[in-house]
């Protein structure tokens, strides 16, 4: 049975009231949704809030899922829209821009993560670097980078998702990459000093 078939079976069972199927479905997709939220919001608390909102939305609308699209695409669309809503409410970008000088994901992670082995620490440092870079982008550019690089969507899919032209999507992505290049180069200069 393929993942898609498994998804459909789990969805059917969850709609009929199977808590087990629902939990299995959530477990399957929660890492993707949580990390999506972490990259967009920059902190675990907001990422958890976003993830819970996403699965609440999924839960309420599960019976409407017809299988016309892949479930993974459907759930990511919900996650994307929830992130946009949350950004409107909390102005995440503003907060992150102000805090960028002192921002460190290691400070915002649970204590147990900090005490893990060295390779995990290195992993955290890489993630922290990614978050520092993303924090320099406005939310609309961050969403484009998220969709293109981390979710591997095409420009056509992004355009449809964000209700824009394909060319605008390409331009916005290019602008974001150029800004990230500048940020990255500045960071390298600072670290060499």
């Amino acid at each position: 049975m393929s993942l898609i078939d498994e998804d459909e079976a789990l969805i059917a069972a969850a709609v009929k009231g199977s808590a087990y199927a629902w939990e299995k479905l959530v477990k399957r997709y929660e890492p993707r949704i949580y990390n999506h939220g972490l990259r967009l919001t920059g902190n675990p608390t907001d990422a958890m809030d976003l993830m819970q909102e996403v699965f609440l939305g999924v839960y309420r609308n599960l019976h409407r899922f017809r299988g016309d699209a892949k479930f993974s695409s459907w759930i990511f669309r919900i996650a994307h829209n929830k992130a946009v809503d949350m950004n409107r409410r909390k102005k995440l970008m503003t907060v992150q821009s102000k805090a960028d000088d002192d921002f460190d994901i290691l400070d915002s992670l649970p204590g147990e993560v900090k005490t893990e082995p060295e390779h995990r620490l290195n992993e955290q440092q890489l993630n922290s670097q990614v978050l520092r870079m993303l924090a320099q982008l406005p939310m609309e550019q961050r969403l484009i980078v998220e969709c293109k690089i981390f979710q591997s969507l095409t420009f056509e899919e992004i355009a449809e998702l964000q209700d824009m032209s394909v060319n605008t999507a390409k331009t916005r992505f290019y602008t974001a990459l150029k800004k990230l290049k500048v940020v990255s180069e500045e960071a390298n200069v600072l670290s060499q000093d």
């Binding site: 009231g17 808590a19 890492p31 990614v130 993303l134 690089i149 981390f150 290019y174 290049k181």
Partner: protein, 225 residues
């Protein structure tokens, strides 16, 4: 040194919908244009850095219950099993409390099993009979006690009478004996005195004489008096 194609080329490079012809043209240009090549490499380096992201573990959260709590009242069917198990101990305790409060009684007899709650007619009839029996017993007991007391009083009176009579009789007898004893003692004393006098008379005439004189004197004095 700038190139007018750099922006267009880099935008299209990340597009997945390029035709083979377009790809070949792009590669050909990149080989010849240092500016575009450098720009593309720097952007690919940025992409590489971003792709170094390692998925974080999701912190623990209660997947089912969080949603059930937030959706409370709308998805009763999903929570039915959980609710049953969660409320089972409470329901059992409540049922046991009801059994105690309602005074539930289960009677298994020859005529079958009967379950009754509170003060049923059967138990109230039984209770009234028990009360009547208790009253009857108390009355009988009181009567018995009164009878015992009367009998005891009469016995005591008789006993006291007997004791009194016997005591009185004994006392009279004792007095009689004492009187007899004293009388005997007095007579014996008189006899002793008489014997003594006789012995004295036998032993000393003078003495007898004087004694006879004394006796005469005594009897004379008695006669005078």
């Amino acid at each position: 040194m700038s190139c007018p194609k750099t922006e267009h080329l880099t935008k299209e490079y990340f597009s997945s919908g390029l035709s083979e012809v377009s790809k070949q043209e792009m590669e050909s240009h990149l080989r010849s244009c240092e500016r575009c090549n450098q720009e593309l490499e720097s952007l690919l380096l940025v992409q590489s850095k971003l792709e170094s992201w390692q998925d974080q573990r999701v912190p623990h959260w209660n997947r089912g219950m969080e949603l059930y709590r937030r959706e409370h009242g709308q998805n009763e069917s999903q929570g039915r099993i959980f609710d049953l198990w969660r409320w089972l101990p409470t329901a059992t305790s409540f049922a046991m409390l009801l059994l105690v409060v309602l005074n539930t009684s289960l009677v298994i007899g020859d005529q079958g099993v009967s379950l009754s709650f509170g003060d049923s007619s059967a138990s109230s009839g039984l209770e009234s009979r028990l009360d009547a029996f208790q009253n009857n017993q108390q009355a009988k007991l009181a009567e018995f006690v009164a009878r015992i007391e009367n009998r005891q009083d009469s016995n005591n009176m008789q006993l006291m009478q007997v004791v009194f009579d016997q005591t009185q009789q004994t006392t009279a007898e004792n007095l009689e004996r004492i009187y007899t004893f004293f009388e005997e003692q007095r007579l014996q004393d008189l006899e002793d005195m008489r014997v003594g006098y006789q012995e004295l008379a036998n032993n000393d005439y003078e003495t007898i004489r004087s004694l006879e004189q004394l006796a005469q004197y005594v009897s004379f004095s008695g006669e005078v008096r």
